[in-house]
């Protein structure tokens, strides 16, 4: 079983590698940061597979921390694109 889970993790690594291309190409910064987010989700999935493969549920905590913090860089980026650098893109919506 763990052989399968490791191969699954390897497959995920492949999809992450595809995501690399978008981080590299952009073209916009939003593209780059969004695809970095994708790598984060893939990383979370990998921790789960590795937890099962190694029979160590403490590894899930790593996934938990990654999932909690993966969004932070993107939030910081979104804030930086607002007019004064401290706002929110939705602020002026009606």
């Amino acid at each position: 079983m763990s052989e399968f889970l490791l191969l699954a993790a390897l497959f995920l690594l492949g999809t992450i590698a595809l995501g690399f291309l978008r981080v590299h190409w952009g073209p916009s910064r939003a593209d780059r940061i969004a695809s970095a987010q994708l790598v984060g989700t893939g990383g979370v999935a990998m921790t789960l597979l590795l937890a099962a493969a190694g029979g160590n549920s403490a590894i899930i905590d790593v996934g938990l921390v990654l999932a909690l913090l993966a969004a932070f860089a993107a939030v910081a980026f979104v804030k930086s694109t607002s007019a004064d650098g401290a706002g929110d893109p939705e602020e002026n919506d009606e």
């Binding site: 079983m1 399968f4 889970l5 699954a8 497959f11 995920l12 492949g14 999809t15 992450i16 595809l18 995501g19 291309l21 978008r22 952009g26 073209p27 916009s28 910064r29 939003a30 593209d31 940061i33 969004a34 695809s35 987010q37 994708l38 989700t41 893939g42 979370v44 999935a45 789960l48 597979l49 937890a51 099962a52 549920s57 899930i60 905590d61 996934g63 938990l64 999932a67 909690l68 993966a70 969004a71 993107a74 939030v75 980026f77 979104v78 694109t81 607002s82 929110d88 893109p89 939705e90 919506d93």
Partner: protein, 104 residues
């Protein structure tokens, strides 16, 4: 682990992987940021959910299963919020700055 659980795990994880692959391909092939964001949030989070479910069948401890659920919940929450915010902020800057971003 029973054989049945193993079969379920293999099926769930495999389908999850397909979604991840679809997400990545979408991220590469879709023409603009907004459709790419769709690919990212929908496919990946579905994939993650399926993988978490598959993994749950391998892990006996109940509290670990709670953690798995929490991981998925957090990932969905984060991806949905971030996708919305990025999409919204890109809207403000299109088309002018979307082009300006396109530097070497």
């Amino acid at each position: 682990m029973s054989g049945f659980a193993n079969v379920l795990t293999v099926i769930l994880v495999s389908v999850g992987l397909v979604f991840f692959l679809a997400g990545s391909v979408g991220l590469l092939r879709f023409p603009d940021l907004h459709s790419r964001l769709h690919a990212l949030t929908k496919a990946d989070n579905l994939g993650l959910g399926l993988i978490a479910l598959g993994v749950a069948f391998q892990i006996g401890e109940p509290y670990a299963i709670v953690k798995l659920a929490l991981v998925w919940l957090l990932a969905v929450l984060a991806a949905a919020s971030v996708a919305q915010l990025i999409a919204r902020s890109a809207l403000d800057r299109l088309p002018a700055e979307g082009q300006a971003d396109r530097q070497a």
